[in-house]
Amino acid sequence: MGIIVSLGAVLAIMVVAWIGGSISGLQPIFGVLVPYAAFAVFLVGFCRKVVDWAKSPVPFRIPTTAGQEVSLPWIKSAKLDNPSTTAGVIGRMFLEVFCFRSLFRNTRADLRSGYLYYSPSKWLWLFAIGFHYAFLIIALRHLRLFVHPIPGFVETLDAVDGMFQIGIPPIYLTDLLFVGAVTALLCRRLFLSKVRFISLPADYFPLFLLLGIGITGLLMRFVFRVDIVSVKQLANGLASLHPTVPDNIGSIFFVHVALVSTLFAYFPFSKLMHMGGVFMSPTRNLANTNRMERHENPWWTPPKFHTYAEYEDMYRDLMKEAGLPLERE
């Protein structure tokens, strides 16, 4: 059900953009208005979400402790998995953000001839990191269409990415990696019953969206060629805030743009916010100093105490009258 809903949503966006993109009067909407609006939603939504998270107090250190805490000098501590210093936290965060270390530690449990075995499982890590780096490089390569003069690093990435010079225009390695990894991540949800059981439309939708973006991009490059000069004119116009919509861009381009715009607009409201979330996770970005330092609750105010002496002062007469024993006459 979730699969059909999310696939249907992506296909619906594609059909609308295909029709809209082929009507030249609507092209400014699909080529300028929608991308600008989506990008604004992305920036504002992202910042709001992060600020919202930053408003939640974290009175106590709650890092995931995946190793020995610092204790007696002769007990070896896990400096990265249970960091007690800022340097350790930076190291942990670096590996988390750039190497996806938590995913790398993934294990699987299975029964083999009656025994429960835990073994490392790296597939999820492999596809995830392949996808993320491919996406990063593809996004950076797209700068050639947005800015002019084109920065050197973009040209270098382009050349390295197409270094095997297979076909003309050359196949980019990251394109293959991107589509392959997204397909693998999708198949994981579709065919592994355990994962499928916990998958929601919010899990399928981004995958179909990314796959749609990748496929329309590849189609534009290799099958339904579009006029790249006009595409650059549009993209460069967007970036310079003087948008123009040249004619003769194939409508498949507007499908691609609509899917990317959807990704941007959807981003702040979805699980994709893990991009900001990874930096905001108290289970990762805090040093485990619970036993070394006193961590005071930020909203802690000293309570008003009412001592027994004060109580007695208050009710002295009544207590005397009732014949109760008093500590102080």
Partner: protein, 132 residues
């Protein structure tokens, strides 16, 4: 908000990276390249036409070149019959660059704008280059 300094710094970096294209462009779009068609060979033509339909050439010339190259070198057939039924001798240097003898003002103009650097010129040369 807690850790305001750190969170704001992070958000400023985030916005800075994602708006790179905006501030790098500084509000001026590069002019669209106009490939020049005023070569002597093209001026001699009665009907100014490329070997295929113009829109097709603009979008798909690289795939056509690849196809022609394979046809010439793998199948050994150096005559391309275009969609109008005319025979064209397949040659990058002697056909394309005969009419488009202004590589600098034609091919390179678009390619610099679009950020492509066809590797063809590692081996092929522009026969109209002044040093030749």
């Amino acid at each position: 908000m807690y850790d305001t300094g750190k969170v704001i710094t992070g958000l400023v970096i985030f916005v800075g990276i994602f708006t790179f294209a905006f501030w790098y462009t500084t509000g001026t779009a590069a002019p669209r390249p106009e490939p020049k068609l005023d070569t002597p060979e093209i001026q001699k033509m009665a009907k100014k036409q490329c070997i295929e339909d113009t829109q097709f050439m603009i979008t798909t010339h690289m795939q056509l070149l690849n196809k022609l190259r394979d046809q010439a070198l793998r199948d050994g057939n150096r005559w391309y019959v275009n969609s109008k039924g005319e025979k064209v001798w397949i040659s990058l240097q002697n056909t394309c660059l005969k009419c488009h003898s202004n590589k600098k003002d034609f091919c390179d103009k678009c390619h610099n704008y679009a950020g492509v650097d066809p590797y063809c010129w590692d081996c092929h040369i522009d026969p109209n280059r002044s040093e030749l």
